[in-house]
Each structure stands twice: as structure tokens, then as C-alpha cells.
């Protein structure tokens, strides 16, 4: 068990994460009914307002707060209790992040920031919304520096040793986050805030979007890497095996730093202000990320097979039956991984220059989000929640909670399968994203979107409703595990933090030489971004005034 003060910090992070989850999923439920023309919002509530709240609260707030809860707990467990300075800085980081969250959310609720989670210019929110976003990022930086400080103390006390795998992976994720945020901080501080408060009249739209996507793509990996930590470090322990390869795991993680940042243009393939060469270069770099992704897939299957064969499995796939299906900590993460197969394949399609033309502004992209961050990441976090909260509160994860947890992950899977399949196919048919309900003057193509059995807005609404039911079951489990489940007084009732053993004896030391990896990362960023960004600044088109379309 980790120290009480560290547990308290982690629990506050989880508490905020699940408040955001509750509101964010409710906003999702409203959307599927509006798109199906089954719900009219009152005049004071706008579709784009709830769409913004849904994206920001789930994709930014829920994920980030949960990730820090996981990191705080894992770093305290793997490197030892936080010192007083680390603890103080961590709390400051928590409160600054929370103040930023509350300010940004208040602006959305007040109808001053219906700019969606990408906050694309020239849509203009209140300046305070961007101040909220900036505080949010600064808060996460403070928390990140606290964790880096804790890691440095450990390294100083253990000279020449490789850090535990959990700590290494946490620091990798934080390094990626710090480098990624430079883009969003630059655009928010130097473009959006002066423009939104009226200190400048216009904004360079292309530059703002490019800086956003410099941040926006590695943001995806900021969500994904903590899930991968669970896949690499937690799952083997549940399976009763060691980490398959410590060096492979570390190499995969540093490759994610290198190839998740200089690739933002693949989100801007349809934009005219960037020349084809730079788009092509960044698409090539994007495809490099397939290497660590397939290394991860290989490791996961190897863990399953080794564990199954240890239990007597024979034949090519006999190990599949020997997996611990009755353990919800495993089954939840296995389903998360399964969803990531089509999710990852969809990502390759999105990043392919021509194929992007087919899917770019369609519901396909929304479906893609939901089978990447919405299930592989979110369901991994759910699988962690089931044991992480009881571990932190010292309460039991009772039999009835375990059954409910199964109901929760099964309903989430069914709901997501229905909703995201409908979104993918509707997208291929041409149904647009980011739009409220419209029948496009009864155009035959648009009417088709409401007709199919699996491919309609009705299916989306049914899927969305099942997802909301699942979300509420999860909230019930969270509340029970935090406050109401019986205390685990006997040792056998206590919930463990499952952290697999990792053999570092064959791992080369250079894998933990940050100068190498941060150096290569910046070199690739400069190659991919220096010329196109400077061109956007030096040959800037006339800037745009702000628009408030809601």
C-alpha cells in the first residue's frame, strides 16, 4: 500500500475525472437524439455547446485527470513515497489544472465557447475560455515536473540503474506531453488570447490550426500511452507472467515520442495552405508509428500465448481458452485491445493522403474517435478503475461489484459496436460530422442516412443510449468503491496494484538516455515543421476576424 498522502492526491484526481465523465457522457446522450431529430433543445442550450462540452470533458478532462491519478499511484508504488516538495508541487499542479478546467467549463456552460474541442479559428470564444485552457495545460506541466522531480531523486539514489518499467513509461509519456504542449501553448498565448480579448484584430488561421495539430496528434498518444502502460505492465501480472521483453517495451515507448509529434499535418491533408511535400513527409513519419504499434500487438499476443501454454494450452490458438476471462480486470482490457485493431486500421486509412479525401469531414472520423479514445483508452481506464479505487481507499471490490463491472463493460462494448459501426458506415456514405440535425432538403442521399438497419441515426441513438446506461453503472461502481463498499480488513480482501516483474538484465542503458531521444525528437520536429511554419508566418494570408456562429 502506498502512503496515505499520495493516495489522497490520486483519489482527488479520480474524483474530478469521474465528475467530468458523468457530465460528458450525458452530453453524448443528448447529441445522438438531436441528430435523430427526436429531441429539441431549449433555446438557451445549443447543439454545438453540448458537442463542445462532450469533447472537452471526455477527451481532455476525464483522460488527463485519470492519467495523473494512475501516474501518481504507480510512481509512488514503483519509486517510493513522494517527498514533501514533490507532494506540494503535485498539489499545486492539481489545483491549477482544476481551476483551468472549471474556468473553461464555465465558459462553455455560459454559451461563450461553443467552438468544439479543436477550437478552430476563426470561431471565437470568450478570451477567458482560452485562459482556462492555458491554465489547464500549465497545471499539467506543474504536475509533470513534480513527477519528473520524484524520478530524478530516485535516479540520484540509484546511480547507473535503469528505472522500473512503470516509471520509465510514465516519464516517456510526460516528455511527450511537455513537447506536444509547446504548440498549443504557443497558439493560445500568442494568437488566441490577444485576438479574443481584442488586443489584435485578426488571427492567422492556418498557423493556429497547424500549431493545434502539432499538439493534437501527440495528444492522442498522451491518452494511449497510459493505456499501453497497463497493457505492458499490468496485464502480464494478471496473466501470471513476466513482462515479455523489457527492452522491447522501452524501445516501443521511445519510438512513440519520436513518431507521434512531427506528424500533425496528416490531420490537415485537405487544407490548401500547406504544400504537398510537407504533407507527404509527415504522412511518411506517421506511418512509422505502425512499427511500435505492431511491436505492442506482438507483445500482447505473446503474453497471452505464454500464459496460456503455462496453463497447459496446446495447438495454435489453444491458449485463447486459458485466458482469465472471469477476471474483469483482464477481460475489460482485452476488449479494449480488440477494439483497437479496427481503430488502428482506421487510423492508417485516415492518414493516407487519398483515402483521407473519402472520410475527412464525415461521421467516419467520429466513429474512429470512439473506437480509439472512446474504447481502447476509456475501457482500459475503466478496467484500471475497478481495482485502482479500492486499492486507494482500502475497500473491497465485492462480488456484486465484480458482476456489475462485467455488465458495465459488456454494455459499453455493445453500445459502442452499434454506434461506431453506424458512424463508420454513415461516414462512408457521406454523412457529415460536426453538424446538428439536417435532412438537407430531403435529398435522397441524406434520407438514406436514416434508413438502414445498422447504418442509421436510429442505430446511433440506440448505441448511444446503451453507452449512457453503461456510463451510469460505472459511476455507481466508482461511488461505491470510493465511499460505500465495506473496508477490506482481512489481507485476502485487500485489492492489489498488479505490477508485473520486468527483467532489466538484458536492457541496454542507452534506452534510458533522454538526451538521445529528446534530441532526435526535436531534430525530427525541426525537419518536419520549421520550413512550413516559417512560411505560414512570413507569407501569411490576410488574417481573419473572429466569428461567433452560435
Amino acid at each position: 500500500m502506498i502512503a496515505l498522502q499520495d493516495r489522497k492526491l490520486a483519489l482527488w484526481y479520480i474524483g474530478v475525472a469521474y465528475i467530468a465523465f458523468l457530465i460528458g457522457t450525458l452530453m453524448g446522450l443528448l447529441q445522438v437524439f438531436i441528430r435523430n431529430d427526436k429531441l429539441q433543445l431549449p433555446a438557451w442550450l445549443d447543439y454545438y455547446q453540448i458537442l463542445t462540452a462532450h469533447g472537452v470533458l471526455l477527451a481532455l478532462i476525464y483522460t488527463t485527470f485519470f492519467i495523473f491519478a494512475f501516474f501518481v499511484t504507480g510512481m509512488s508504488k514503483s519509486l517510493g513515497t513522494f517527498g514533501p516538495k514533490v507532494r506540494l508541487v503535485s498539489w499545486i499542479g492539481f489545483w491549477v489544472t482544476l481551476i483551468g478546467t472549471v474556468l473553461a467549463t464555465a465558459m462553455i456552460v455560459a454559451g461563450e465557447a461553443s467552438v468544439l474541442y479543436t477550437f478552430y479559428a476563426p470561431l471565437k470564444a470568450s478570451g477567458w475560455y482560452y485562459v482556462g485552457l492555458a491554465l489547464f495545460v500549465v497545471g499539467t506541466w506543474i504536475s509533470s515536473f513534480a513527477l519528473i522531480g520524484h524520478y530524478r531523486v530516485w535516479r540520484k539514489n540509484n546511480k547507473g540503474e535503469l528505472s522500473p518499467l512503470f516509471a520509465f513509461m510514465t516519464i516517456t509519456t510526460i516528455v511527450l506531453w511537455l513537447i506536444a504542449c509547446l504548440g498549443v501553448v504557443a497558439t493560445v498565448l500568442f494568437q488566441y488570447i490577444p485576438w479574443a480579448f481584442g488586443w489584435t484584430d485578426t488571427i492567422n488561421v492556418e498557423l493556429s490550426r497547424s500549431l493545434f495539430w502539432y499538439f493534437g496528434h501527440p495528444l492522442v498518444y498522451f491518452w494511449l500511452l497510459p493505456a499501453y502502460i497497463a497493457w505492458y505492465v499490468i496485464v502480464p501480472k494478471i496473466l501470471g507472467v513476466k513482462v515479455f521483453s523489457d527492452s522491447l517495451a522501452r524501445l516501443a515507448f521511445v519510438l512513440f515520442i519520436l513518431f507521434s509529434i512531427p506528424v500533425g499535418f496528416h490531420h490537415q491533408l485537405t487544407e490548401p495552405g500547406i504544400s504537398n511535400f510537407w504533407k507527404f513527409l509527415q504522412v511518411v513519419l506517421t506511418f512509422m508509428v505502425i512499427i511500435p504499434s505492431l511491436m505492442t500487438a506482438f507483445t500482447m499476443f505473446a503474453n497471452f500465448e505464454i500464459s496460456g501454454r503455462k496453463k497447459g494450452a496446446t495447438g495454435l490458438f489453444g491458449w485463447f481458452k486459458k485466458l482469465p476471462w472471469k477476471d474483469v480486470r483482464f477481460t475489460s482490457i482485452f476488449i479494449a485491445m480488440a477494439f483497437f485493431i479496427p481503430g488502428g486500421a482506421g487510423g492508417i486509412i485516415n492518414a493516407s493522403f487519398q483515402l483521407n479525401e473519402v472520410v475527412h469531414n464525415t461521421l467516419w472520423i467520429v466513429g474512429h474517435f470512439h473506437i480509439t479514445v472512446g474504447t481502447p483508452v476509456a475501457m482500459t481506464f475503466m478496467g484500471l478503475t475497478f481495482w485502482l479505487i479500492p486499492y486507494l481507499t482500502g475497500r473491497k471490490f465485492t462480488k456484486s461489484m465484480q458482476i456489475l463491472a462485467f455488465v458495465q463493460i459488456i454494455t459499453w462494448s455493445i453500445g459502442m459496436l452499434l454506434m461506431s459501426t453506424a458512424q463508420h458506415i454513415l461516414g462512408l456514405l457521406g454523412a457529415p460530422r460536426r453538424t446538428a440535425f439536417s435532412n438537407y432538403n430531403n435529398h435522397p442521399s441524406a434520407l438514406e442516412w436514416f434508413d438502414g438497419i445498422l447504418t442509421s441515426h436510429v442505430t446511433m441513438a440506440v448505441g448511444g443510449s446503451i453507452l449512457f446506461l453503461s456510463a451510469m453503472i460505472l459511476i455507481y461502481i466508482v461511488v461505491m468503491s470510493m465511499f460505500l463498499s465495506p473496508k477490506a480488513l482481512k489481507v485476502e480482501d485487500q485489492v492489489e496494484f498488479p505490477m508485473a516483474e520486468s527483467d532489466k538484465s538484458h536492457t541496454p542503458k542507452w534506452l534510458e538516455n533522454w538526451w538521445i531521444w529528446i534530441g532526435i525528437a526535436f531534430a525530427l520536429i525541426i525537419i518536419a515543421y520549421a520550413i512550413p511554419l516559417s512560411s505560414m508566418i512570413m507569407h501569411a494570408p490576410p488574417g481573419s476576424e473572429g466569428f461567433k456562429t452560435w
Binding site: F301, W319, A345, I349, V358, L428, H506
Partner: protein
């Protein structure tokens, strides 16, 4: 660094086959959307 590694002798045929299946899913999905692109 020792050349003997702990993975020698492990039966990972299922892993190889599974990763291949993932690869096939990626290729099939990609080709389907590519055909749609060409068809439009």
C-alpha cells in the same frame, strides 16, 4: 550482455499467426476504402 535470451525455445506460433491476422485486417480495410476512393 548475455547472448542467451529468455525467449529461446518459447512456442510463439499463435502469436505469429495472430499478428498476421491483425496485418490482414489492416490491409483489407485499407483496400476497401481505397476501392471506394477509386470508384468515386
Amino acid at each position: 550482455m548475455s547472448k542467451n535470451n529468455e525467449h529461446d525455445g518459447m512456442d510463439l506460433r499463435g502469436t505469429l499467426a495472430s499478428v498476421m491476422v491483425v496485418g490482414v485486417i489492416i490491409v483489407v480495410m485499407w483496400v476497401v476504402v481505397y476501392m471506394m476512393y477509386m470508384g468515386r
